[in-house]
Symmetry: C2
Subunit: 399 residues, 2 copies
């Protein structure tokens, strides 16, 4: 079973330093959980993750259950044995795919969308691949178009086989375009699903390769204060050992921060809090200051693949490596960065590999961005320990 | 300047063990030169190459001159400074592209093609992007369609800027479908180009980042014995410190081996011999036994990307990792292989990454195949030293 210890608290904010102990290692919090949707961080290997100081990965139950299948992974010792990453694993439940393949497609939005009263969804990006009922979520497989049904119980069974250290119950991540009535109904169903997940989790003790798994609860309620507080109270009341904050997170970063404040205010102080799907530099600092312990987000690795490299040395924390100004630049991506890419390659070479579409580019860029996130969280933890204001983490920038 | 020392000879064959000393390190021969067409082995980084025991890379003058340009690379210290691979580099001259983008496209063939008297080219794969004249080769750029002209002198200037340790003169790699008259005329032009390249190499002493470059000569003459012998004699007479055997290599592996025998018979014994573009397991053993010292070939890395993993443990030296029989296989690709991939990942995971099109797959597969080639050449060198028959290198197989 996971245990969470708070080892220091920042004066003047809700930030705290902690240790999340799992059957496969201890995670120093605040921590960024690196996304490995299909079992590995895209373009990297386990050797890379170890050299970068990565401590924990998050896989996706929906994608892994469709391919290669939870049974196949379970037969090889779960994610730890199958992928070779023997450190801590999280798995997301598929609840985000209820949104991203459902209302997200119809509404043409992400978890945060700038909407105003009377707005309607503007640019649908496709047909929903999801049908929801009290029983669960019926999906079209993105692999082969077949139908798959995810009930709260089935999602627990799948995650028992995958064997991650921290697992999550099936929930419904609502859209910023869902109205209050829909958001409330979805939240109440998510609460019923959470109860069913807990019961299934108890019933399946002993199933799968990892007897020490922990099931955390997910708080929903959109950007409505009373719903968020109700959801946090209901989920906390079920006795989960940790909590995740799910979307929708409203129409702006400010809305997101308010959602965090309302939620954290209700959750028990002694248990870990995860913010699902958020990983912007300022977002992490602001959320840590409000008491969030862990984060996951595909953006740092996706940006790398798209030519955007993260750096503390530039406004906006990024450079576009394809820019012509780097064509003969013999400097590393960021002076002072200790990542394997900055140790060895000039910007001009990364630009060339990127322009030429060379496979090596994706790894070298991803190595840098993943190490940037590790360094960012190292700075955050150091600031919490020393009682520094978190804004000191970013010397060039004002929060 | 490069130097070549023969340190041992096999009894009963022309195989020899050697050391090729370059300004950037010593290569133990027989050696496989790993292909890094655009400056890096596809999907890998320098850290990978070092951990695999790779000693030498070969880049391509045509591709690097088009993008990012030889001047840009020269300004960053040549390939050594630009790419971070500070060990020995070869560069090919663009002569193979004269074939692959020219007659190879029109004739629809590679360097070896099963043809018979009266055969005509059967399946053209496109329009030639090359026009040849006494002056040189006019290309259409594969990057942007612009026209570029490669004279023997320009190819030396470009390679001076790229700064590889072993460079090659512009030649014409003929097609197996070229008749004797054409092959002879092309060979004679290649000889005139070699003289011009040598003169240009002398004139450009001091240009570029690597004053210790060596220019090796290329032998042509197709699969015609008298032409091959004439070409070897003519090129050897020009005083090159090393030699490469160019295609066409005839209609079969047997033809290829005869071409090697005719050529090696004429070349001076004390200088290194490179076989361009050949890298099959048996081909390497047979060519080493006939006195070839170094090889390069894109096949091992291309096979990896296409799902074919090399192994000493199977007939044909390969497995197709996508095969359904590997879906729950928890063994490494090859028992006893010391590569980073076999150390950590089960076949089932590699199959999954490959099926899912995950970027990590390409690197993990390439790591294995490159290490296989390093291990193969280690076995070859050990067999030469101990006077073992080279067939003992492949315990499962008869040559």
């Amino acid at each position: 079973m996971s245990a969470f210890r708070i080892t220091a608290r920042a004066p003047g904010s809700a930030a705290r330093l902690g240790e999340l102990v799992t059957p496969h290692g201890t995670i120093r919090t605040p921590a960024f959980v690196t996304v490995a949707t299909r079992g590995m961080v895209k373009s990297l290997g386990v050797d890379d993750l170890l050299s970068l100081g990565v401590e924990v990965l998050i896989g996706n139950t929906y994608h892994l259950a469709l391919r290669p299948g939870a049974e196949a992974i379970g037969a090889l010792g779960g994610l730890h044995g199958f992928t070779g990453w023997t450190g801590p694993w999280f798995t997301d439940s598929g609840g985000f795919q209820v949104f991203s393949l459902g209302a997200g497609k119809i509404h043409g939005v992400g978890k945060i969308a700038p909407i105003f009263p009377g707005d309607v969804p503007m640019k649908p990006t496709g047909t929903s691949l999801v049908a929801l009922s009290e029983g669960g979520a019926r999906f079209r497989s993105v692999v082969d178009g077949s139908r798959v049904f995810f009930s709260p119980e089935e999602v627990i069974r799948l995650q028992r086989l995958l064997g991650a250290d921290v697992i999550l119950p099936l929930d419904e991540c609502t859209s910023p375009f869902h109205d209050r009535a829909y958001t409330r109904a979805a939240m109440e169903r998510t609460h019923r699903w959470a109860e069913r997940a807990l019961a299934a989790f108890e019933r399946t003790t002993g199933l799968g390769p990892n007897p020490g798994q922990a099931l955390w609860g997910i708080v929903q309620g959109g950007a409505y204060e009373d719903l968020r507080r109700r959801s946090a109270k209901a989920i906390a009341g079920m006795g989960f050992p940790g909590f995740a904050i799910g979307g929708s997170l409203g129409r702006s970063k400010e809305d997101m921060l308010r959602v965090i404040e309302w939620t954290v205010d209700v959750l028990p102080d002694d248990r870990p809090r995860h913010l699902l799907g958020i990983g912007g530099v300022e977002d992490i600092l602001e959320a840590v200051a409000r008491g969030v312990d862990t984060f996951d987000c595909a953006t740092p690795t996706r940006l790398a693949r798209n030519g955007v490299l993260l750096t503390f040395a530039e406004e906006g924390f990024r450079i576009a490596i394809k820019n012509a100004r780097f064509a003969r630049d013999d400097c590393p991506v960021e002076e002072g960065c200790d990542c394997p890419t900055c140790a060895r390659y000039p910007r001009a070479f990364l630009r060339h590999l990127s322009q030429a579409g060379e496979l090596s580019y994706y790894r070298l860029a991803t190595l840098h961005n993943v190490r940037f996130m590790v360094r960012l969280l190292e700075r955050v933890r150091a600031a919490v320990v020393t009682g520094q204001d978190l804004s000191a983490v970013l010397p060039l920038h004002r929060l």
